[in-house]
Amino acid sequence: MSAWERISRVRAWSMSETQRFLLLSVLIGVFAGLVVVCFHIAIDRLSWNLLGTPLGANRLGTVFSPMLGAGLAALIVQFVFRAARGSGVNHTKSAIYISDGYIPSGAVFGKFLACSVSIGSGNPLGPEDPALQMGAGIASMLGRAFRLTREHMRLIAPVGAAAGIGAAFNTPITAVLFVIEEVVAGWNAGVLGSIVLAAVSAVVVSRAFLGNEPLFGVPEFTLTHPSELIVYAGIGLVAGLLGAVHIDALTRLRAKMLEAPERLRILQPLVAGLVVGLAGLVVPRVLGAGYPVIDGALRGEFGWQPLLVFGLVKAALVTFAFASGTPGGLFAPTLFVGAMLGGGMGALAQTYWPVPTSDPSAYVLVGMGTFFAAFFRTPMTSIFMVFEVSATYEIILPVMIANTVAYLVSRSFQRDGVFDIVSHQDGTPLPSPEHERHRARLRVEDAMVPADKVVTLGQLTRVAEAVEQVAQSAEPLALVAQPPRGWTPVSRDELAERGSIDGLETVGAIVRDRPVRGVHPDEPIDLALRLLSMQPAVPVVSRSRPLRLLGVLTVRGVLDAYARIQPPG
């Protein structure tokens, strides 16, 4: 046996799958954190060299860099690293639902190169979505290296996604919640721990290099007067409407641009980049991710007119850039637009509201999260994001109100989320976490036949009598009481057959050796379906008194219940 073989056989290398998964989660976080740090540095250095400092100081660079950057980035993702095209969120979801966790390594390299060029050259997109995809890609690579099982490989991508977002935002809670709310679409206990580990590891690494400071310098917040909550609700309303409009405009324009012949599509980012450059000449603050501008808005640097102008121009440029296929994310621009919207409305409130209001910076903070909730449809993430960024508990009430209003308004005007629409446009429809959340969840009580419509028999009931009773009932079955355990179903046909063949005189003899299985009315219908595969019907009993029969669940009843909530066609 060679030395290498002896080393390989050392027990310490042979961890269980679960242990490897957890160790991997930490490694993924570390790798993702390091890569995101390099990504952040690459964007900054490109920006300094191409656009100058302050932003827009290099006027020639400001006009042409976005165009050239967008063009080069588009070339990279269209011809060199094709796996890096598209939304990072959708790629991660594809890894879960379609490709068993496989994300090509090229996605990581391609996303790094293309997005650092596109964002660093001034295009008004964000680094968080690329970071998410890079994290997911790193996770996939490491998962393959460690030869995880198929089941674990499917779940590895969201672990990396959380690490990527956590490092990019410097917000571990937000990262975890976003992945759960938008990618995994549920509190999957099997992967939650790993997601948390990866996010925390990534944030630790990123803070080690980039510092502990939060993303924004947030001034102290106080709620000056309770009536301000109305203003915050108003911000939610406006953000909800604008969010719906933004989703619609962005996806419609994208659809139009996708209709162009493929060989002309490379021109679209070039044109979009030129438009960005020309706009940047007039309003340089809309270039790039825009975090320093949000910081300035939080400190009251701008009046309400510039804030609203920045917000609207940015929204328009982002729509154009993203729809044209310029690589980059939507997180940072969404925060930007929301911050400007909130700040503008806050400044107006300060002037026109009849009672004293908080500093406009409070509205900037709330606006950020509100528009995020309206656009991405992740209400929990947006609430905690604001809380995590500001470290101010007092802001929680206005944030909850504004975000909830924005989410509900946006949803009522635009049913589908941006990622859902984009995935359909890309030809890979993926499950929608939002639709999942709102999907009616059937319970046993929704499908059961009430107890008074079912024949119930004692164990000593004669079979002949039982057959006669069941014949008169609408349901072709009966339930036999088996105290103290519960009830056992028996079908009409079985009664007739067993009675005639075996000559059994009582129904108790038929069901004597059968297990007693029942469900409760509040349980999900999925649970009952498993039991229906083993017996003709499932008794529904009270939780406190197992012998108290509430109804019975049949296959027919379940199908009818599903048909009621989702009619055919």
Partner: protein, 398 residues
């Protein structure tokens, strides 16, 4: 013809990149054959990535720091020349590169305050004070922001923090200056008792400093404590006999206290160094008061009566000017006093103590009656007003 060639090139590029990407994606599989191999490769990759990131980050932060310093210095230069908006832009840029740089935060806050944007300045100061709560200059600037925003309580709090905070250089002098600024603020807000307290503290901190004594004296004077002010100015002129301002201020406070002889002496010293109309006016008034005072010491009875008659004459003239003939005759008792005064003035002077006393008493009674019915009389004859006030309050020598 160009387009087909381009499309062929692009197609070849796409094909090549597809093969390269495929090979890259298979890399983990064919390189890492065993668990030990997997860990080894991963750890090596991790080490390489850490090394790369550390190197890249080191250079990046060095460059960031240099850029931040450049913007900070540019901002300072522009602020000195009064180009505040440009200076603010540079400071902001410096802060975006180094958010925790206290000196940039302070420079930006100060410039914003000078530019009339106190609320924005306060946000930067709050950040700075969160990390360095005892920073004397930051607390002082924050106090100034609070003053501009009419937040008196906040301002006083921050002034106190500045006084007891840490200063990079000249701590003693900066603390004193801060106390003076606080005292001036309290004085402007009418908080006399607090002002006096602060001034006493300043004196305790710098008992022998003459420049401090000058400033303290002035503030005592403005706060309505002329005796304390006089003490300070005396201290100054005792050491700096050619301090014209101190002499002038001493003249002022002595005059306020009714010590006209000392006021005249101090005023003459001041005028000898640096003439000014205010001091000239005070010296002249003091001289007149002294010359008119019938209660001065070591006067002969003849002189005392002469002065008394002159005073009575002026009081009577004041009353006559004050009373409006259209309103009819004054009250009977006042008319009686007038008649008595006229009669006294008409008779020949008598060289007796009693006569002088009688004249003085009549003058005092008539004056009190005059100001009782005609308060404007106080402004009519300044010398008479000063003298009568003095005589009536103390009955002594001015």
């Amino acid at each position: 013809m160009v387009l087909p060639r381009v499309s062929v090139v692009l197609e070849r590029l796409r094909s090549w990149s597809g093969r390269a990407a495929g090979a890259a994606s298979d890399l983990p599989g064919f390189v890492i054959g065993t668990p030990a191999g997997a860990y080894t490769v991963v750890l090596l990759a991790l080490a390489a990535l850490v090394a790369t990131t550390t190197m890249v980050a080191g250079r990046y932060f060095a460059e960031r720091e240099a850029m931040a310093r450049h913007h900070y210095e540019s901002g300072l230069a522009l602020a000195r020349t009064g180009e505040r908006p440009e200076a603010i832009a540079h400071f902001r840029e410096a802060l975006s590169l180094q958010r925790d740089d206290g000196r940039t935060q302070l420079a930006l806050a100060t410039t914003l305050l000078d530019e009339g944007r106190p609320r924005e300045a306060s946000t930067y100061l709050s950040d700075l004070l969160r990390t360095d709560p005892t920073n004397g200059l930051a607390n002082l600037t924050r106090a100034r922001v609070a003053r501009v925003l009419d937040e008196e309580t906040e301002a006083e709090l921050y002034y106190q923090r500045a006084i007891y905070g840490t200063w990079a250089a000249d701590a003693q002098a900066r603390r004193l200056d801060t106390r003076f600024e606080l005292a001036e603020m309290l004085l402007a807000n009418g908080r006399r008792a607090r002002v006096l307290g602060e001034l006493e503290q300043i004196k305790a901190d710098a008992p022998a400093d003459l420049d401090v004594a000058r400033r303290v004296g002035r503030l005592f004077q403005q706060a309505g404590a002329p005796e304390r002010a006089a003490d300070e100015f005396r201290l100054v002129v005792a050491e700096r006999s050619n301090d014209g301002d101190a002499w002038a201020w001493l003249c002022q406070v002595r005059f306020t206290l009714g010590e006209y002889a000392d006021a005249m002496t101090a005023g003459e010293r001041a005028l000898a160094i640096r003439p000014d109309p205010g001091t000239v006016d005070r010296v002249d008034a003091a001289r007149e008061v002294i010359a008119l005072n019938p209660a001065a010491r070591r006067l002969s009875s003849r002189e005392r009566e002469r002065r008394g008659r002159a005073l009575l004459e002026r009081v009577l003239a004041t009353l006559d000017r004050c009373l409006d003939p259209a309103e009819g005759a004054a009250s009977a008792s006042l008319e009686q006093q007038r008649e008595a005064a006229r009669a006294l003035l008409a008779r020949r002077p008598q060289r007796s103590v009693d006569a002088a006393e009688e004249v003085l008493t009549l003058s005092e009674d008539l004056w009190q009656a005059t100001v009782g019915i005609c308060p404007a009389a106080r402004a009519d004859d300044r010398v008479v007003t000063l003298l009568m006030t003095r005589l009536l309050s103390q009955g002594g020598t001015p």
